[in-house]
């Protein structure tokens, strides 16, 4: 029965190549936001039945991929700059851009002693920071270091991660005693492993505003619009708060 086996083959192939369900939203998300995003995803899927697919990466890489036609519906960046560039380039739905989260940076010491005095005393070998020319969290960290007045003293102790995720990894693996990381990263750890952290006053650095945008590909996608609405809803903001982010009104 060659016809039947051919039919069977087509069914199997069809199942394997199943096009994305209509109500699927593909979200390109900055690395630091992934833990919060996973919680948002679960809540959103339970509430709406839509499906979320995540692509995590650094904001710069995701930006370059979107410019070159990557199939994402929503972009959750770690800065304001890249979504604004996309908007200027006509790659987003006009007017869809908004600040979905404000990141908080903290000085983290797993051994517990993290404060401004320790930064000044410099009694450590390595301080991990995200590369300030690549990552907004790194730029914010450098502003705090400058405000405390230890920029020159600390220069030889700095190690740069390509993003705040790598800065976190350097401290977590014990290669640096201290590091400027995102509060959200520490809150994602089990309580007994959090050590101590110091939250610099918001006045010491430009707030890390993380902007979202609806990309052109997602313009007609109801799941994409629904997800962005969910992000702004009370339920969405509660998740953000739990993971250490402020909302855009801050």
């Amino acid at each position: 029965m060659p016809h039947r086996s051919l039919f069977f083959l087509l069914v199997v192939l069809g199942a394997l190549m199943r096009p994305a369900a209509a109500a699927e939203v593909r979200v390109a998300v900055a690395g630091n936001f992934v833990p919060a995003m996973e919680a948002l995803e679960a809540a959103f899927e339970a509430e709406t039945g839509h499906e979320v697919t995540l692509a995590a990466g650094s904001t710069g890489k995701l930006y370059a991929q979107i410019v070159h036609g990557a199939p994402f519906d929503v972009f959750l960046a770690a800065d304001e700059d890249r979504p604004a560039r996309l908007e200027a380039g006509g790659m987003t739905v006009p007017g869809s851009r908004f600040t979905y989260a404000v990141g908080r940076i903290v000085l983290w010491a797993p051994d517990g002693a993290a404060n401004e005095e320790r930064l000044k005393a410099g009694d450590f070998r390595r301080l991990a920071v995200a590369n300030p020319s690549l990552a907004p969290y790194g730029a914010a960290a450098m502003q705090v270091i400058g405000a405390v007045g230890v920029e020159e003293a600390l220069a030889p102790k700095l190690v740069l991660g390509e993003d705040v995720g790598q800065a976190f990894a350097f401290v977590r693996t014990g290669n640096a005693e201290l590091g400027f990381v995102a509060l959200s990263q520490i809150l994602a750890l089990p309580e007994e492993e959090r050590g101590g952290w110091w939250t610099p006053a918001q006045a010491l650095y430009t707030p890390v505003r993380q902007d979202a945008a609806l990309l052109r590909r997602g313009a007609e996608n109801e799941a994409a619009t629904a997800f962005l609405d969910f992000l702004r809803s009370a339920a969405g903001r509660a998740v953000l708060e739990r993971y250490g982010y402020g909302d855009g009104a801050e």
């Binding site: 070998r125 390595r126 590369n131 020319s133 690549l134 693996t173």
Partner: protein
Amino acid sequence: MSGADAAALWLTVRLALVVTAILLALGTPLGWWLARTRSRARPFVEAVVALPLVLPPTVLGFYLLIGLGPASPIGGAWLELTGGTLTFSFTGLVLASVLYSLPFAVQPLQAAFEAVPEPLLEAAQSLRASPLDAFWSIAVPLSARGFLIAAVLSFAHTIGEFGVVLMVGGNIAGETRVVSIAIYEAVETLSYGDAHALSLILLSFSFAVLLCVALFRRRPARAV
């Protein structure tokens, strides 16, 4: 090209030179042993040597981040001795690169040593040459091409290293900021001009190296 880029280039060349020297010193006895031994351990050692060919650099980088860190025995001992950490240092990069490029030195050397005819060595021994003497005056000259290929490949492969350095380097100018990292940063910050300049240098260099190796492999062996 900026001064920072030139510094990254020079650092990369320095790293590659040091690593090549160490790999030749290390690869020669190891390659000789692998070529001559009848030990049952041989396939295991061969597999370990070849691991960096197959492993993603992230795996090696991850283990090195933990294995060289101050909390590890090696990283801790280094810290006691020198007062500095192995990760984020030039020495750490040398160590990482030696592991990462090991097969590129050992495999050509082993192949060259395997081609040295046993009777020649036996003849030397019957003339009362010590094994070391026989090695230097017979095996080494016969394996000259193997040494050259091992050196060129080790050097080139270290120049092209990226993933491991990204994971244990910490991007420190003059210490761990090698060319591949500088290019990565230039691309990420949309400085395509710098990225082009450095990439073109690496592309031409890599092509020249591979061309040299190909030419050397083609040339018929000289009569002994």
